[in-house]
């Protein structure tokens, strides 16, 4: 499953997650944008869904560990969210790979898929990460979305409800942007590279 081109794809996608996620965390945008590489990895390795899931989860975990050590020490708590994201990327988003690479670009179908998968990913990650945000961090993780939590708490909601509502507000927007960026990068990736990554490992000669 882990051929050299796939390992390269995993490493590149992990580096992409790390680079973009760190910039967004440091400038305190109410977004995360730290899973573009995870989604892109699943798109690159599809149609082998199991390999796509394993590789995109590995890319997510490597970038999470590196970001935890150097930039944001709390990201490791969201490993379950990364697992859910990798599942959604491999089993849902990757289905749209033909539309994402179609030339000329089918604007309507492309846009609809991006929004649909963005909302789906956003809802899933909001639900999975809410208990961690509420019970480990008391609702404030250091990203800009904490202001949304504060807004809902100020409106009288309980902590868990405030975190969930904040997640449902911010995550679909964030994840739609992530799916869009991943789709555009996938579109720009040379076919040669995709063919190399998708090639199945050759059995050893007998």
């Amino acid at each position: 499953m882990l051929t050299t081109p796939r390992m390269i794809a995993i490493a590149l996608c992990a580096a992409l997650n790390f680079a973009v996620g760190s910039i967004v965390y440091l400038i305190k945008l109410p977004l995360y944008l730290d899973s573009i590489g995870t989604i892109l990895c699943a798109l690159l390795i599809y149609p082998d869904r199991r390999a796509a899931f394993v590789c995109s989860f590995l890319a997510a975990m490597i970038s999470t560990v590196i970001t935890t050590l150097f930039i944001n020490p709390f990201l490791i708590w969201f490993s379950a969210t990364e697992l859910a994201l990798a599942l959604v990327a491999a089993y849902f988003i990757a289905d749209a790979e033909e539309i994402f690479r179609a030339r000329p670009l089918p604007m309507l179908r492309f846009g609809l898929r991006v929004v649909l998968y963005g909302i789906l990913t956003g809802v899933v990650s909001a639900v999975v990460s809410a208990p961690v945000v509420a019970y480990v961090f008391g609702g404030v993780t250091g990203s800009g979305s904490a202001f949304l939590v504060a807004f809902f708490l100020k409106a009288g909601q309980h902590l868990m409800a405030a975190v969930l509502h904040s997640g449902f507000t911010a995550e679909p927007i964030d994840k739609t942007l992530q799916v869009l960026f991943a789709a555009l990068l996938f579109r720009a990736t040379p076919k040669d590279f995709i063919d190399m990554v998708r090639a199945r490992p050759q059995p050893a000669p007998t």
Binding site: A11, A15, V20, P73, G138, A150, K154
Partner: protein, 245 residues
């Protein structure tokens, strides 16, 4: 101490921190201080400085949100009581004390291996060879990506697509930079995979370098520290059962 021992010890301390109240946190702070003094020595101050640098912005952010904006603790909200900024501050202090301990122990454990390179760290780690190879490739490609960022950034500034300072042009054309970096990195690694690595037998040379050299995954100091952390966990659970604060 081995990398595996440090990882297990850190995980046990982090789990214990998540379960503990104030008394448990005090025990864990003492254990981590001992670990820092015995295992890391003077370098521990650098780890603590780094933990403070990482934690202070989050603590300030928490104070701003909970004390400044919300003005009461979650328990007050759950009980539909008016609450006070003091109770919010107490809540933030406990959460921050717990999070600081977690950040500090990760930094201290990382500092234990400051004298060796990341490649040597991966070499010493007891893990599946594919995972170790992946770690080495990622470290190498992060360098490649950073160089690609430098080159693409300079080229796009020279061509007037983006600017050196904050500007509206950067917001609209920032995407071009990301795309350029991605394509530069892809071109570079495709070349390496097709020509450079097969010619130089890079991957074949990597495997013996990463192969296991020791049979036992943990050494005596690892076992002692892990046992201490486990005893602390038992103490915390016992204290919790008997209602210690």
């Amino acid at each position: 101490m081995t990398p595996n021992g440090a990882i297990v010890f850190t995980l046990v301390v982090v789990l214990a921190a998540m379960m503990s109240r104030m008394s448990g946190l005090i025990v864990l702070y003492l254990l981590c201080t001992l670990f820092a003094v015995i295992e890391v020595g003077p370098n521990a101050t650098a780890a603590l400085r780094r933990a403070v640098i990482l934690m202070v912005p989050l603590a300030a952010f928490m104070v701003l949100v909970w004390v400044g904006v919300v003005g009461r603790a979650p328990a007050d909200i759950a009980a539909s009581q008016p609450g006070s900024r003091v109770s919010a501050l107490v809540y933030v202090s406990i959460v921050c004390a717990r999070l600081f301990l977690i950040v500090a122990i990760v930094q201290i454990a990382a500092m234990r291996f400051a004298a060796i390179t990341p490649l040597q760290f991966i070499q010493l780690l007891r893990a599946p060879i594919a995972l170790k190879r992946l770690g080495v490739l990622t470290l190498s490609l992060i360098e490649t990506l950073l160089q690609a960022v430098d080159r693409a950034h300079t080229a796009l500034i020279a061509s007037g697509v983006i600017t050196r300072r904050l500007s509206a042009r950067n917001v609209f054309n920032g995407w071009v930079l990301v795309q350029t970096v991605w394509l530069t990195a892809i071109t570079s690694v495709t070349g390496r995979m097709r020509d450079k690595w097969p010619m130089e037998h890079t991957l074949k040379l990597l495997d013996p370098l990463l192969a296991e050299k020791r049979k036992d995954p943990l050494r005596t100091p690892d076992k002692i520290w892990i046992s201490c952390a486990a005893v602390a966990v038992v103490g915390i659970v016992w204290g919790d059962f008997y209602g210690l604060p």
